[in-house]
Structure formats: C-alpha cells, structure tokens
C-alpha cells in the first residue's frame, strides 16, 4: 500500500519538535510529509484541498484542531484527517469524527497504528478523488441544483425507490430518473455510490 504519487501527509502542530519529528517519521516509510505550525498557516497555504491527508493535534493554541476541521468543512475540503488526541480527550475525539476526521489516535503514539491510519486516510482521499473528479469544486457545483433536484436527491439518499418518490412528489417515474441523471451531470459524479457518500458527508458537515 504505497501512496499514490502526489499525495502528501500534512502535519499541523504548534510544537516544532513534534511536527519536524513526525515529518521525519513519515518520510522514513516513504510518505511525503510537509509541516505547518498553525491551522491558520495551513488554511492560507496553497496546499488546502490538494491530494493527501492531514495529521493534527486536537489541542493547539490559536485556532484549535476542531476549528480547523470546521473551517475545512465550510470550504468543502474533504481531505481526510487523522487526529492525535491526548489521554481523556474522548469528547473532542468524538466531535472530530463528526466533523469528518477519519480516525484518531491516542498519545503515546504507536507508530504501526499511526502508519495504518494515515495510509487508510490516503486511500480514502484517492477514492474520493477518483469518484468525484475535482472534488474541492463540488460544493460550488452543488449550488446549481434546483430546489426540486435537491428534494429528489435527499429522498434518493434516504433510500426511497424511484416509484415512491414519483408518487409522493406527484411526478412520473421517468421524471425522477431525469432528475437523477441531471444531478449526477451537474455535480460531475460518475457513480451513484459516490453521490450518496458525498451527500451524507455534506449533511454531516452542515
């Protein structure tokens, strides 16, 4: 499971020793890594939204790890995040998961576990990009959906059959299918599974 070319592990930590040592550690197993001192520095860099994953400490001065996750979600950046938590930070870890962090790992770090979580995060990033195209733009495109299309999308994701949707919205099954095709077209999504995944992510973040 080697990372796809172009993927980077972005380490955000206010402690210089910690972020530099983490980069050195990731580098030792062939994972390209880049360090940022603060959440603000990462957000204002050109790296936001590029292929890769984030590794950050949930407790940071200034904008904390959770605030960074919120800010990324607002921008529609779905970069998977591995959150490092201290002992007893369970409520924060849970909140981080709700904000879209894919995983968290407790201090003291077990390196094998850390590598596994980071590789999973990178794999997740790759899948998202493959199925969504240039996904940071997807939330921009989302705005093109009409209210009726959003209504249909919501019901599709909720698992309603085309027939049911047609009956409840008093339209033909054919029209439901047309809506569905147009939604996929507008969002430039290739698979219905990705559409469901993305919609759920978006709902969780808003």
């Amino acid at each position: 499971m080697s990372p796809a070319p172009g993927q980077t592990v972005y380490v955000v930590d206010d402690d210089k020793d910690v972020r530099e040592s983490l980069c050195w550690l990731f580098d030792s197993v062939g994972l390209a890594a880049e360090a940022f001192e603060t959440a603000e520095a990462f957000l204002s860099s050109e790296h936001t939204g590029l292929p890769g994953c984030l590794v950050l400490d949930v407790r940071m001065p200034g904008m904390g790890g959770l605030a960074l996750l919120e800010r990324l979600a607002e921008r529609g950046v779905l970069t998977p995040v591995v959150v490092i938590t201290g002992h007893g930070d369970v409520p924060m870890a849970v909140k981080a998961l709700h904000l879209g962090a894919v995983n968290f790992i407790q201090k003291p770090l077990n390196h094998e576990d850390l590598f596994e979580r980071v590789r999973n995060a990178l794999a997740r990033d790759r899948e998202l990009r493959e199925s969504l195209g240039d996904y940071p733009g997807i939330f921009e495109r989302w705005k093109q959906l009409t209210p009726r299309e959003e209504e249909v999308l919501h019901r599709l994701v909720a698992g309603q059959a085309n027939k049911v949707i047609a009956a409840e919205l008093a339209i033909s099954t054919r029209t439901v299918e047309t809506h569905r095709a147009r939604i996929m077209d507008k969002l430039q999504i290739r698979s219905f599974a990705s559409l469901v995944q993305l919609t759920l992510l978006k709902e969780r973040q808003s």
Binding site: D15, D17, V18, W24, H87, K107, P108, L109, H111
Partner: protein, 398 residues
C-alpha cells in the same frame, strides 16, 4: 418644742418608710423587670462573686443559661465550678485568680457541661471592684451563651478548610496536567525520531543489529514514559467533584462571606446584585465557590489604588435569554494590560509579584468542567469585568 418635733418625727417615720418602699416598688420594680427582660432577650446574665466568702449571686438569666434550678443551686464559687466542663475548670480558675491578683478585667470563653450531657459555650466578662485599701471587694460580671455563634464559626472554619483543600488539590492537579502535557510533546518527538531511525535502518543494506536493538529500546522506553504520563493525567482527572443541582445565589453568598473580610480590610464594598429566582445549575459548590472567591480576591487585589468614590466590587447574577446563567464580577481596579488579556487564562500567567499564575487557569478549568465559559472585558470608567456563563440544569433531572 424639741420633744414635740421628735414625737412628730416618730409618727412620720413609718409613713416615710412605707412611702420609700412604694417609690421603690414603683421605680426599681419596672427597671428590674426591664433588665430581666433585656437579659433574657440578649441571653446575657449578670453575676457577682465575693472573693472572700466565695458567695456567688446570679441573675435569672444565668440560671437559665446554666440550666440550673435556683432552689437547688448551692450559690458558691465551687458550685459554679462543678457545672463548668471538667476540661475547662483549671483554666477558668487560673484566669480568675490572675485577674483578682492583677485587678484586671477578665474576658474568656469556656464550656459548661449541662446535666443531660450537652455542652454549651459561654463568654464571661468580669471587672474587679476594689476597696479603699486596693483589695478586690467584689467581682461583677456577665455571662453570655455563645454556643450558636461558636457553631457558625466552626462551620465556616470547616468550609474554609474544605475550600483550601480543594484549592490545593486543584492547583496540584492543574500543575500535574500542565507538566504532563508539556512533557508529552518532546517525548513524542523523541519517539518519532527513534521510530524513523528504526525504519531507515531496517531498509539499509546491512543494518547493525546492535544499533537497531538500541533504537528499539529507546522507542519502547519512550512509549513507557508516555504511558506513565497518561496515567498521571487520568489520575488527576478522577478528582472531579460530584455535581448536584444547586442555587448559584447561595454559592455566591457563601463565597462572599469568605471574601468579604479581605475586601473590608482593603476599604472595599462588595455589592450583591443577585437575580432571584435564578435557574438552577448542575455543579459542585466547593469548586464554584473557589471560582467566585478567586475572582473576588483578584478584584480586591486589583483595586489597590482605586479612588475612594469607586471602591466597590459588584457581584451580579442574571439569567440570559438563551437559558444560561451569568455571573459577573466587576471591579474598578487597575484593569488588564492588553498583552495580558490574550494569555489571561493560561497557566503560569501572572501580573502579581508573588503570584504563581495558577488562579485564573484553575478558574477556567472549573468553569469548563461545568460546560461553561469565562471571559474578561474592561469595566467603565476603569477596571475589569469577569463574566461566566453556565448552562441551566435540565429540569426534572435529579
């Protein structure tokens, strides 16, 4: 003429006597009655002791305080000593003897052992009345039942002790947590470098096994150190006090009771502006008291050079529209320099010469432990306002 006058005088004498008695009854009677009543209300009795004969005379209230029957009381100093608590007899006797010898007033508190085994605290105040030759003729004194006051004092003393202990535990806990967090970071970096070195060495063509083993030991020991720190932080976390539904105004009144003497010593008035009723909050009263006492004492310290017309600290409570309870502690003190405000609640931050800088850090820890938040803003025309918002307790929850 002379004889006639004598006869008249003799005839008048009994009437005069009667008149005197009547006047006495009319004036002294009511005065005595009022005195008795005053003594009963004040729970102060008066007594006289003749040092030579050891005769003791008590007012009604003394009998009531000592719970002794006038008809069975022997009326001597020794009879009195018998109802004094055995542990206090020697002491009271010594103090009285000293006072007689030195002809000085006596003020002392001792215990009484009541017939049914109860213990009362009484305060004695006595003065020595002297003869012309300077010897003590009579000792006149008062006795007051101070049992109730004593209990209140004991209770407050105990509260203070609990508060001080909680403060110490919190300070220690906070320091341990801070140190643990600070140590965790470099420790993690050491582990990361060791781990990275191991990975690199394993990939090398001909890794030195001894070197690899040493690096693996470093990684293991770092891990172990991290575990120890985690367990310290876990241990500290367990000291959180149990939370109950409570009335914040009561917590504040108790806290001000503790903080007021310090304010008074500094010529400061504490104004309570408490909204009543106030929604209940879920909290640990000892910890919340610590928060209030801390903020008020900080306000007192900040008000050192406050002009006379502004020497006031205002403590207010109010409910907010979104169902929270707000506490405000406002002073007209020296205010906070802007470079301090940003780090106000961080550990080891202090503007005081002798401060450790843990007070506000602990205050914030406690407030956050109550799902609340705290912030500070400048007050008008000068000084600082600290505001705390705590969520109201859910209704119907035990």
């Amino acid at each position: 003429m002379h004889g006639e006058f004598r006869t008249a005088q003799e005839r008048i004498a009994p009437h005069m006597c009667e008149l005197e008695e009547q006047v006495g009854r009319a004036t002294i009677g009511p005065v005595e009655a009022r005195l008795r009543e005053a003594q009963r209300i004040a729970q102060i009795g008066d007594w006289e002791l003749e040092p030579k004969s050891h005769r003791l005379s008590w007012s009604d209230e003394v009998y009531r305080i000592c719970e002794v029957d006038r008809r069975t009381f022997g009326g001597t100093y020794d009879d009195f000593l018998r109802i004094v608590h055995p542990d206090d007899r020697e002491d009271i006797h010594a103090k009285l003897s000293t006072a007689i010898r030195a002809r000085t007033p006596l003020v002392t508190v001792h215990r009484l052992l009541i017939a049914d085994g109860r213990v009362k605290f009484v305060q004695e105040r006595a003065e020595m009345l002297l003869r012309e030759d300077g010897k003590v003729r009579l000792i006149r004194g008062t006795v007051q039942d101070v049992t109730e006051r004593r209990h209140v004092e004991d209770r407050m003393q105990k509260n203070l002790a609990v508060l001080a202990r909680a403060g110490r535990i919190n300070t220690l806990g906070e320091m341990a947590t801070t140190i643990a967090h600070e140590l965790n970071q470099p420790l993690m970096a050491i582990g990361n470098y060791a781990g990275g070195a191991i990975q690199r060495l394993r990939r090398a063509k001909d890794p030195d096994p001894v070197l690899l083993q040493a690096l693996e030991r470093i990684a293991q020991i770092t891990q172990r150190s991290g575990d120890i720190i985690s367990s310290i932080r876990g241990f500290v976390g367990k000291h959180a006090t149990e939370k109950k539904r409570l009335e914040l105004n009561t917590v504040i009144r108790d806290s001000l009771f503790l903080a007021r003497p310090e304010a008074r010593r500094n010529n400061l008035v504490i104004q309570e502006v408490l909204q009543d009723p106030l929604p209940l909050v879920q909290g640990a009263s000892v910890n919340l008291q610590q928060v209030i006492v801390n903020l008020v004492l900080n306000a007192v310290e900040a008000s050192g050079d406050t002009p006379a017309e502004l020497r006031e600290i205002r403590v207010a409570t109010a409910s907010t529209p979104d169902g929270q309870v707000e506490i405000a502690v406002a002073d007209h003190g020296s205010g906070l320099p802007s470079e301090v405000v940003a780090h106000l609640f961080q550990p080891f931050m202090t503007t005081k010469v002798e401060g450790v800088g843990m007070g506000l850090s602990i205050v914030r820890t406690i407030v956050e432990d109550h799902q609340g938040r705290i912030w500070a803003r400048p007050n008008q025309p000068r000084g600082t306002v600290f505001r705390i918002r705590l969520p109201a307790a859910a209704t119907g929850q035990a």
